[in-house]
Amino acid sequence: MSSDLPVFGIEFGAMASRCEVRLAASDEAAARGLALAAIAEVRRIEAKYSRYRADSIVSRINAAAGNEWIACDEETAALFGYADALFDASGGLFDITSGVLRRAWDFRQAQVPEAIILEPLLKLMGWNRMEREREGGALYVRLPQAGMEIDFGGFGKEYAADRAGAILFELGVRHGYVNLGGDMRVIGPQPDGQPWSIAIQDPRRPNAVIAAIPVHSGALATSGDYERYFDLEGRRYCHILDPRNGMPVQYWRSVSVLAPLAIAAGSHATIAMLMQEQGLRFLRESKLAFLAVNQAGEIFQENAV
């Protein structure tokens, strides 16, 4: 009976990306209602962890750097725990305090910052330096030095995709997906049982695809050097920066990973980008299906679906 259900797509903008909720429902009104619940959750997360709102938990922690302890709710505490796992798994490359490097890199101008600008910023990083205390059942955190900052941009979109997908599943949706700017959480296959065919964008040609991956359920996320970048003298400088020297990574054009959760898929993709050449071994050992494109345009598609 569910194979009769029509499929609706509701598009919206969030987290500086084009987003879509696609799901099967009895009619358009029902689909809108369900999509609104998912969109509300995406907006909640966007607002809660926004760097641009002075009252967000992230802004308050950053404003109190080197000064006061800030109490975190359980969701934020859980996300910090996740940031720990990524920091460890990547050997310190995935570091949510590395956002300070934004002050040196402006991708709208084709200009590589001088070492003298990067040096002081490198001293303001280090996720392992954030201070934490549990008191009375709540987690209190403090950045040890003024000028340090944290942000959840590294996995915020993927986390929101997972949360939105979970809410849709709770509401009874069994066919559909949540797509936030290319990071997708699939709740279930198409109504007739066929997987969704998800296209992976060509990292050098915006309107072309390099592969179409069939996905039944789970998540697909991509990290690439084509989102924010500039090219100078034949070399691409992208927004994914190595925290050890403040310079963009270069080895991969894009990495896409399939995993049960969007946040896990996205983290694997980003860590592979950060690890550069060692990223291939990292992806292979994770046993997750991936598609990676290096600077020469060679495609590695392994642990296949």
Partner: protein, 73 residues
């Protein structure tokens, strides 16, 4: 008669419990975890205050059981 009034008041509170507007999620309980939000209060201070009032007033207890007695005059 007074027991009936007490039961009605208690049921009213229980009724409120049953219909909270929107259930508070685990990750929203940061403020509730603060020590000043604990209904009970710090044990030493509560014990001192309870003991003082019990030895100067007729009413006693209400918050806990099993504290034992004393010959306080």
């Amino acid at each position: 008669m007074h027991v009936r009034a007490a039961l009605i008041a208690a049921l009213a509170v229980a009724g409120v419990s049953g219909c909270s507007v929107e259930a508070v999620k685990p990750w929203q309980k940061g403020t509730l975890a603060r020590s000043e939000m604990n209904i009970e209060g710090a044990k030493p201070e509560t014990r001192f205050d309870e003991h003082i009032y019990t030895s100067r007033e007729a009413a006693a207890g209400g918050a806990s059981v099993g504290g034992g007695g004393c010959g306080c005059n």
